[in-house]
Amino acid sequence: MVIDPITREIMRNALASAADEMALALHRTAYSTIVRDCLDFSTSLCDADGQMIAQGVTIPLHLGAVPSAMEQLLSRFPDRIDPGDVFIMNDPFAGGMHIPDIFIIKPIFWDEVRVGFAVATAHHLDLGGRLPGSSACDNTEIFQDGLRIPWLKLYRRGEADGAIFALIEANIRVPDQTIGDIRAQLAACTIGERAVHELIRRYGLATYRAFTADLIIYTERLMRAEIASWPDGSASFTDYMDSDGVGGPPVPLRVTVTIRGDTLTADFSESAPQVRGALNCTRSYAVSVVALCVRAMLREQVPNSAGIFRPLLVITPPGTIVNAVMPAASSMRGVTGFRLIDAMLGALAQLLPERVPAAGEGGNSLVIIGGRRPTGESYVFFELLAGTWGARPDRDGNDGLCNPANIASNIPIELAECEYPVRIERYGLVQDSGGAGQYRGGLAIERSWRLLGSEANLTIRSDRRAYPPYGLAGGEVGAPSSNVLQRSDAKVSLPTMVATGMMHGELIHHQMPGGGGWGDPLDRDPAAVARDVRDDKVSLAAARVRYGVVLDPTDLTVDLMATTALRAALRAERP
């Protein structure tokens, strides 16, 4: 059966709509702050063979997760998938991503014939393990990350397996929230199933099948057409994480991107071997990174289907940080994914310079405070801080905006203070933290928390202190990150990745990195510098020293003559 472009567009809308409906349902019924405010979840629909045919408007870094999960599921249950079954899994060595991400997969049947799968993946607040939040950079084996769930049937022919629920509940810190979020995932899958049934009822099974097969080919064709329009070439880039998660040396992430005809190869062979700390990725995560970076280069809107991956060749040797093997820990591998993106974009900037921004903040920072309330009940306060953007080849970076690889939000301060024993004492932008350039990098975000409860565990995942976000085309790096714990007697600088204790009344201050600049700062429009100074985004001194712009200190007007002279002098001083 041939699908005409009109039917294709109509059914594509219906499927995308269904995946969005799944996402909205999961979001509305979820319990944890990670799902509700950080949107760290995704919803997808697959065909009967597990090929992805739609993904909801959810976290881009889950893009590559579904294919490998489905591959593993189908190889483990080749002929034992029945109507009413629901699968659960979070094992990174069985097609998962990291312990906190639980996959819920519901096969969809029509007249006893399998026609597809609904998939809902969510990052859970806690799945047991060494520390609250099941995420610690200094975990050194997966068993410390938390409860590892292999592929299991959570429901068999519509019957819940109470033993699995009981086992999970017994091993986690905040069962109400985790089980509540699993139920939200189940609800999302039911909504996806309903939508697929409606489509089949409307168009018939044969048309539905022909359409889903066609959609994947159509997506592939769109991708290949775009890649073919790019110049052939090859470029390498190395970016670094400051540490391996346990205080070890910087970790190089190197990629070589090759565009040839209508295919793109990303080779991570020269990246670091897998590391001791919990920063190791699965191959699926590296594939997500590549797909997301290539998508960000596209001019066309491309459907989220399995066709996206077909023109991409991703090389990830086993035993490296991008394809870890047992028993590597991986709970904090998010930061590695962000740095892989920075490396990918650094390489792409050499091949498609007009489409690539300077480095942004380098991914979300995590600040997790876990302890006990006066009632004895456990709490886990999980803050995922969203950052700022690098400057673009034609415009400034956005000040204070989530990394494009993610769609996290911030947690309302008034809500946090009502629900957790913390007080947030500062949240805002940091002056002079954006990389200087013809276009300025976005300003860094800072936030501080005072512990109002009794002693608690404090876990921080941050990076980019030794290796700040890069600038491009002569733009400067963004400001480095910092962690300062204000104890009763002293201020202590904490490492970028740390798990420690925090006492009642202490204040932890975190500053994220600033975005990199693009182009020579001495080429920046002096009026833009004056506007930044007026807004306290750039200081008078920095305007002078970094941008060579002289302003009247009272009314902040540009002294053009002095500026021209100063810029000439600064240029002359350059080596």
Binding site: I6, S17, R28, A225, R295, G400, P404
Partner: protein, 692 residues
């Protein structure tokens, strides 16, 4: 002579629609081009013309109800007042940081909308309230005086104040308000606890900032309008439509304009609710298709569905509704309207892989569709509809535009049909169906996404292009019945005449239902009720005229999102049923409910309403003389059919499709598998037969 005439005036960017209902219930209408920036001019011209036509004087007008886009446009076009924002020490950037989300994924060049208040005018005050109302840091009044000096130097016209935890503990905000009033008497002041007494600092800051930003604009506009009306002899009270579908006094709107931001679309939905109810229909989905967008809304139990917040200037696709961040956030009760960029001006084009796309690019009002002959070169939905025979060729808009079929045909053939290797009619049909597929997403967003089965609903279509697409969309959505009200193009103005005065209030709380929450709830309810009745009394409404609707926002403890649960009486009186009502609603919406988790109440809401006036519609304005037949392409299934064209008034008895009903500013398309008749209210009712 007693004042019996009522006037509804709906002003949009392009047209000003005025509807007058006289003492006998007869409706008179007038559509004029809008007159920006002095929008009141077109209103007065229309009012004088209508009064003249029936030989009445301005004194005979009992009330004027008004819907306007003045405030929305001030936000969209960044033409609001020079506004400052005062915040708690350490939180100057809340407004600019927003919820740090970008609505567009994979777009590395997206630009975050600049904040309505620039950073230089966002000033911090040394003060801090704890979450439980403990003043951790008292307000530094000396510093406040210095900050006000700075506002004075900066020649600020409006000041927004949003301090942390002021939703429940407004002492510091009140104090700041008093000093501002004393020091800067001419400057508008918006205090967050008065604009939106709800927990969540960004939402409250943003809503207060928008209010401050448009307040001087709205005050000036309403002053001008009232003065012009007085000159025309109309001294009757002026009421404004709110985004929630209720009216508010002009004085109140000048103080809290943020509640009247989306007044036009709200009125249309409200009219659908009112006339639907009269026809015995309380479960409706509304569809309003104009030149650039299609809007959908849901009516359940005769009442429109509300949304607690929305964004001005953001595209409202289902995805953006999840992520947000594309526009100015406003948390104010509004009729929940899903909007999608699929209107008559949406452009059809081919992508690199030979896929056919319709929208989101739009030819807008200018150059508009190719067939308008005003410079458009890209095929649009209206061009496709013309080729399908749905749109009547010839002059429209008093002859200012002549619809030209040849130009449309050539463009669709060259740009779409030939590259795809299909016939021109098939291409036009494809464009029509793809636009429907987009619009369907908006319709699903308000129904399926909310857990309602569209098959149990009737589709009400209005706006210029709504009646063209209604039957096909109803079929795709699963609705059996479609209603096209009289004067579909003026329907929003009619909505202004069937609304009462309405006021919303809210108190945040954190209470566990069933656990001795009654006393606290009773105290909140008493406070809400007395304030509500007092404010209505000030406008001359006795307590017995005001009907009160209570609801609570509830969630399972620990859950992120709340559900709004309507209550039959004031909270505190019947909390037993609350938990089970909530569980039932949760189960209906999401298919699961955990009865062991306690139900937490986070807000109590009260809506007060005065009765809505009655209105008889008749069959609407006399329709232009149109009869005969047109060749209409009804898709591959039926192909090209010679279709009779009639007017609404000629529709005396139930008739089977195919049929076209030409209206003053629209055409109703009745496909071959539908049957159509005129009901007692003058509405066209279309029923789709089973089968596909």
């Amino acid at each position: 002579m007693s004042a019996t005439i009522r006037i509804g005036a709906d002003v949009g960017g392009t047209f000003t629609d005025v509807v007058l209902v006289d003492g006998t219930g007869q409706i008179h209408t007038c559509k004029l081009p809008s007159t920006p920036p002095n929008f009141e001019r077109a209103i007065i011209t229309a009012v004088e013309r209508l009064l003249g036509a029936i030989g009445a004087a301005g004194e005979a007008v009992a009330g004027v109800a008004h819907g306007t886009t003045v405030a929305t446009n001030a936000v969209l076009e960044r033409r609001g007042a020079r506004t400052a924002l005062l915040t708690t020490l350490g939180f100057r950037d809340l407004l600019e940081l927003r919820r740090v989300r970008a609505p567009q994924m994979y777009d590395l060049f997206w630009v975050k909308p600049p904040p309505l208040v620039e950073r230089a005018l966002r000033l911090e005050l040394s003060e801090r309230m704890a979450a439980d109302g403990t003043p951790l840091l008292p307000l530094d009044e000396n510093e406040l005086e210095r900050v006000i000096d700075q506002l004075e130097r900066e020649a600020v016209e409006s000041v927004a104040v949003c301090l942390l935890h002021a939703y429940a503990y407004p002492a510091h905000e009140r104090l700041v308000g008093e000093v501002l009033a004393r020091r800067l008497p001419g400057v508008a002041v918006s205090l967050s606890h008065q604009v939106l007494p709800e927990r969540r600092e960004y939402e409250r800051s943003a809503t207060t900032a928008v209010n401050a930003y448009v307040q001087p604009v709205m005050r000036r506009y309403l002053g001008d309008l009232q003065a012009s009306l007085a000159t025309a002899g109309v001294a009757a009270p002026l009421l404004l439509m709110q985004s929630s579908g209720g009216l508010m006094a002009a004085e109140e709107a000048a103080r809290l304009p943020v509640y009247a931001l989306e007044s036009g679309p709200a009125a249309g939905v409200l009219a659908a609710a009112v006339f639907g109810q009269r026809a015995g229909l309380s479960e409706l989905i509304t569809l309003d298709i104009g030149g650039t967008t299609a809007k959908a809304a849901l009516i359940v139990g005769g009442r429109p569905f509300y949304s607690a917040e929305y964004e001005v200037g953001a595209s409202l696709s289902a995805g953006n509704r999840l992520v947000g961040g594309g526009g100015e956030l406003i948390r104010a009760p509004s009729i929940d309207i899903a909007e999608i960029g699929a209107g008559g001006g949406s452009i059809a084009e081919l992508d690199a892989a030979g896929g056919l796309r319709v929208g989101p690019r739009s030819a807008g009002a200018l150059p508009g569709p190719v067939c308008y002959g005003r410079g458009g070169t890209r095929p649009t939905l209206t061009d496709a509809n013309l080729l399908l025979g749905l749109v009547r060729p010839g002059p429209i808009a008093d002859g200012q535009v002549v619809i030209n079929r040849e130009a449309a045909e050539a463009t669709v053939t060259e740009q779409i049909a030939r590259p795809l290797g299909i016939a021109t009619l098939e291409a036009a049909d494809g464009i029509h169906r793809i636009a429907n597929a987009h619009t369907l997403r908006a319709l699903r967003a308000v129904s399926v996404e909310r857990g309602y089965d569209p098959r149990e609903f009737t589709l009400v279509a209005f706006g210029g292009s709504g009646p063209l697409h209604a039957a096909a969309l109803a079929r795709d959505l699963g609705c059996r019945r479609v209603i096209i009200p009289p004067s579909p193009g003026l329907f929003s103005a009619i909505g202004l005449l069937v609304s009462g005065v309405e006021r919303h209030d809210v108190r945040s709380c954190l209470l566990i239902a069933d656990q001795g929450a009654e006393d606290a709830l009773r105290a909140i309810a008493a406070d809400l009720r007395s304030q509500m009745l007092e404010r209505f009394a000030r406008e001359g409404f006795a307590p017995e005229l005001v009907s009160l609707s209570w609801s609570v926002d509830a969630r399972f403890r620990g859950q992120a999102h709340e559900l709004r649960i309507p209550l039959p009486a004031a909270p505190g009186e019947h909390t037993d049923a609350l938990s089970s009502d909530f569980s039932a609603e949760h189960l209906r919406l999401y298919g699961h409910a955990d009865s062991t988790t306690p139900v937490e109440l986070v807000a109590v809401r009260l809506v007060g309403r005065t009765p809505a006036p009655g209105l008889e519609l008749g069959v609407g304005q006399a329709v232009r003389d149109s009869s005969g037949e047109r060749q209409v392409y009804f898709g591959q299934r039926w192909g090209l059919i010679t279709t009779p064209v009639v007017t609404r008034t000629a529709l005396r008895q139930p008739t089977n499709g195919p049929l076209l009903i030409d209206e003053y500013d629209s055409t109703i398309v009745v496909p071959p598998d539908a049957r159509v008749w005129l009901d007692d209210l003058g509405q066209v009712v279309m029923e789709l037969r089973d089968g596909d």
